[in-house]
């Protein structure tokens, strides 16, 4: 298992390098010019020098290794300086955003907590709702509960977040006035009252995201339970005289959870993608919203870094899912 994990880790390095090259070359084609927003009074030769300083005109085989060096060597140095108080970086050039002229990673670190907070809560809520629904609808297959659950999950699949989000805003903030429609990221939780406000503003984005995740997970949980409920070992367990509760919640559930756990792991990166839209609807200024504004403002270093972070997340969680599958299911051995 360990050798398999190491082999996969080593293999993911060329994959990530290739993905970053693809993103880099795609962005290289971008028509945008970082100097477009500068005043027209700047003389052309100064403009040319500024462009050179930003490294715009370089061919990709020079620019790409430089970006790699900045991203994988310089940025971790700054990270360790900030966290452990070392002095590795010594003022080396960082990846700079064209929009704000500040280091890209600093902005990402500022924005990340909002995204993680909303997306993470939504994911946990979704898992907590989806698993019981999936278990019960499989146990009572074709009952009214199962049929209703199927319909609700189908609706959850089909209603895109940019509609369900807008819909709950119309109903709960415009008509009823229960929750604010805009997520206030400057809000600090200090006592019970502010905690209640935080809860109120989180409830809508979290539920919109959770609806989507719940519908996928509970379908999967139901299918996996159904596969296991007709197995021979279940009949054996019942024949031994175990209580129904023990049969379903211990024997069947544990086996059914194996594929579900991997699906949960696989879903994490796609949630960051889905959060782009939800963040846009509720005006959460997380990394999704950062990406949209960066694309609109032609801020290529920012776009490059964010897309690459998404790619790293996908590759990483694919790896985690595969390793988990091997760890949980002794029948699966990769080596």
């Amino acid at each position: 298992m360990l050798t398999y994990t190491i082999r996969r880790l080593v293999l993911s390095v060329p994959t990530l390098l290739f993905i970053s090259l693809v993103i880099f070359l795609l962005l290289k084609l971008a028509p945008g010019d970082p100097m477009a927003s500068q005043p027209l009074t700047i003389p052309p030769e100064v403009r040319e020098r500024m462009r050179e300083a930003l490294g715009v005109g370089q061919p990709w085989y020079i620019a790409f290794p430089k970006w790699l060096y900045q991203f994988f060597v310089v940025e971790p140095m700054y990270f360790s300086d900030a966290v452990f108080g070392t002095d590795l970086a010594q003022g080396q050039q960082r990846v700079i955003s064209w929009q704000t002229r500040s280091p890209v990673m600093d902005i990402v670190v500022q924005r990340l907590p909002q995204t993680l907070w909303v997306v993470g809560t939504a994911y946990v809520v979704a898992i907590l709702i989806a698993l019981p629904i999936g278990i019960y609808s499989a146990y009572r297959q074709y009952s009214w509960f199962d049929n209703a659950g199927t319909f609700v999950t189908m609706v959850g699949f089909s209603v895109p977040p940019f509609f369900s989000g807008v819909l709950v805003i119309v109903v709960f903030s415009v008509q009823l006035g229960w929750f604010p429609s805009i997520y206030d990221t400057t809000h600090r939780v200090v006592d019970w009252e502010t905690f209640k406000v935080q809860l109120q503003q989180m409830i809508m984005p979290v539920m919109v995201l959770a609806l989507q995740i719940t519908s996928q997970l509970s379908r999967f949980m139901r299918a996996s339970m159904l596969d296991n409920l007709n197995q021979d070992y279940v009949r054996t367990a019942r024949a031994k005289g175990l209580s129904e509760r023990a049969v379903v919640l211990v024997h069947v559930l544990r086996n059914s959870l194996i594929p579900v756990v991997t699906v949960i792991a696989l879903g994490v990166p796609s949630i960051f993608g889905g959060a782009i839209i939800t963040e846009q609807v509720f005006k959460v200024n997380g990394i999704g919203q950062l990406l949209i504004t960066a694309i609109q403002a032609n801020d290529l270093p920012m776009v490059q870094t964010l897309t690459f972070i998404f790619a790293v997340l996908i590759v990483l969680f694919n790896l985690i899912a595969d390793v988990l599958y091997g760890l949980l299911d002794p029948r699966i051995r990769y080596d």
């Binding site: 795609l26 189908m154 509609f163 776009v303 694919n318």
Partner: protein, 334 residues
Amino acid sequence: MTDTRADQPAAESAVAVAPEPVPSAPPRSQWADVWDQFRTHRGALWGMAVFALILALILVGPFVYWNDPKFVPTGRDFLELRDTRPIYVALWDGDAKVNWAHPLGTDNIGRDTLARLLSGGRVSIAVGLAAMILSVVLGTLIGVLAGYFRWLDGPLMRLTDLFLALPLLPLLLVAVLLFRDPLSGAFGPEGGTFILIVTLVGVTSWMQTARIVRGDILALKEREFVLAARSIGTKPSKMISRHLLPNVMSPIMVSATLGIATAIITESALSFLGFGFPPDFPTWGKLLFDAVDRMELYPERVLWPGLMISLTVLSVNYIGDGLRDALDPRIRGR
């Protein structure tokens, strides 16, 4: 006991010798069986009815309906016709500005909402269908090549894995930004964006189809009928088109159905984020996006496009669900 045992072989041989009974009914085709199973799935039938209704509405509607989606009233008409509410609002709000000539109201420059909804639906569904066809063709091609030719398997599957590892939504947004202007110049703003979005959605959604098709082809290749076909000297091209492709039609059809839903949602998401069609060219996602700013005053402008997207996708998903069951011979027998 022993007597009956001894009798049985004799009886069996008698049956074997006797001429086969003439079947009373003509043989049933596979598609009749599939249809019979499909009919038992209530959700799928409803989905088909709703989808057919939506298709009929957007295809026939613009010919029957009297308002032009692009017509903008001028002068005094402009003030009178802009921002009218749907007629049903008059039920609970007597002072609402309604106009029987515009059943679903008008937008802030006086264009008719229902007419825009109908013509927007044409674009949304056309994008969905075209992108689905592209993605299914690509996925089938890559899946068949990878499954049939051993030397192509490794490279093509690595390519599939690579596409699966790409962060698709961010890349789609970037790509729209990059290629919108050159394509708009070549094919006009609407045609260029249409080609761009269809290509992008198609090129980024073929991976699941390719994986399923490859798996099925790999299993089929080991079967006797393929060996038989090869032994009479069938060429690879004929082998694929006559023996392998018909046998993988069912998973392809299911992923095609579900592909329409994904494509419609992706197009609407792009439009919603402001990376879709040009401003005066309505699609459902674009209508929704334009209406969000004033949804406190005019919730119906958000509601109807969103409802149309959701209904279409829901019905298509139900059809896909029913098809999956109907095309699975293990379920069909029961």
